[in-house]
Symmetry: C2
Subunit: 227 residues, 2 copies
Amino acid sequence: MKNLLSNFKISINQNLFIKEPSSSELGKKIVSNSIEMIDEIGFENFTFRKLGLKIDSPEASIYRYFESKNQLLVYITSWYWGWMEYRLVLETANIDSAETRFEKAIALITTVNNDKLIIEGVEISKLHKIVISESSKSYLTKDVDKVNKEGAFHNYKQFVARLADIIKEINPSYKFPHMLLSTIIEGAHLQVFFAEHLPRLTNKQKSSNYITTFYTNLGLQSIKNSK
Amino acid sequence: MKNLLSNFKISINQNLFIKEPSSSELGKKIVSNSIEMIDEIGFENFTFRKLGLKIDSPEASIYRYFESKNQLLVYITSWYWGWMEYRLVLETANIDSAETRFEKAIALITTVNNDKLIIEGVEISKLHKIVISESSKSYLTKDVDKVNKEGAFHNYKQFVARLADIIKEINPSYKFPHMLLSTIIEGAHLQVFFAEHLPRLTNKQKSSNYITTFYTNLGLQSIKNSK
DNA sequence: CATTATTGATAGTATTACTATTATATTTGC
DNA sequence: GCAAATATAATAGTAATACTATCAATAATG
């Protein structure tokens, strides 16, 4: 994580907030503290009232940035996928072999890093934990179609699309790139959660990169051996 | 679904309810109507008050059966996995080949059936839709560990364990049966949801069984080609 | 037929998820 | 440097949620 572009900013669809959070101190505090708080107490227990108390601002002020806590969740997960796309581009730049790029990408998705990296005020490892245990709640709702139209999942889809292109390079006739990728991404997130809370639903290993290994093999086998 | 055992009843851990729902008319109405209602309006919008209005019983009476709507969700998903285990046993009985049994099992998990089958008052196709879009919310919470200890996920784990045994028969040295299975199960559920709401995250096909085919191949490849 | 368990009817509470209003700072444009 | 615009603070209020409590009416059971 050395060569960060200094003038780089992750772009988030305008519909995912009322007022641009990065445009003010309060906005930045809302985002960074909400990530910390959701990580600590979980999305269900998280409220704008509690966040207001934490950052010492009235609840009503937070509502000027986000119309609901769901919108905030969508915002921070979108930010995550924007960030991941940026990392993907960096990590796979100047590498000829599509297979190597695929491997790098899967490592990116499946690796849990605990170092205290802070980008744009966001503590990445905490954000990653939120994405693992909370992000599916942003689409598993009755208003998916509505928020989807507003661009809620654009960054996620774009990340998947970029990876699908790599798969197409490896095997142009492979028919299920998006299916494979959503399986790998959501699967890998689940394994991290299961390893901690429901070990009988996974196979935790001593080595730190067993999830990476598993999904890399699973993916490459499927891509290469399809008729 | 012909040869149902007439004296068969799916067993649910005692901790997952206050009063046995199958022991009374009201209890059965709570379960069957909640499934219908959660399917219609989603778990977030579902409340005991609304359910009470629907079944014309006071909210407080529902609280005598379930201590919260989360407990109810855990109950009905547990019921689902109990039912799935029952089907698994039936479908794989008297079949010698472990591989064929595995294929039957994956078909069971990945097939969406719309026929109006009702078992113990439960409309299976609606329950399946709930499991697809709501069940992960029953474990993706901060109190997973607590409810897990109470047996909330016992039926799910038992179903997975039974399938893991089949995998071990196919390849005794395969190291990731549970990981593979949770990937397939949760992945397959997601693909159904994505096909309807977020098509760019899957690869919908014309054939009705493409999800089955995909996950069967994915699974068997991984099981057989592992070192 | 009396006891016990179950449900209905009703009320009440703390919290949530917001919206509204007005006052006070702070920034910016001229 | 001052007015105008903008952002935030402070406070209040509302409908709904997620429960708990109480007591009467009814049904089941021994």
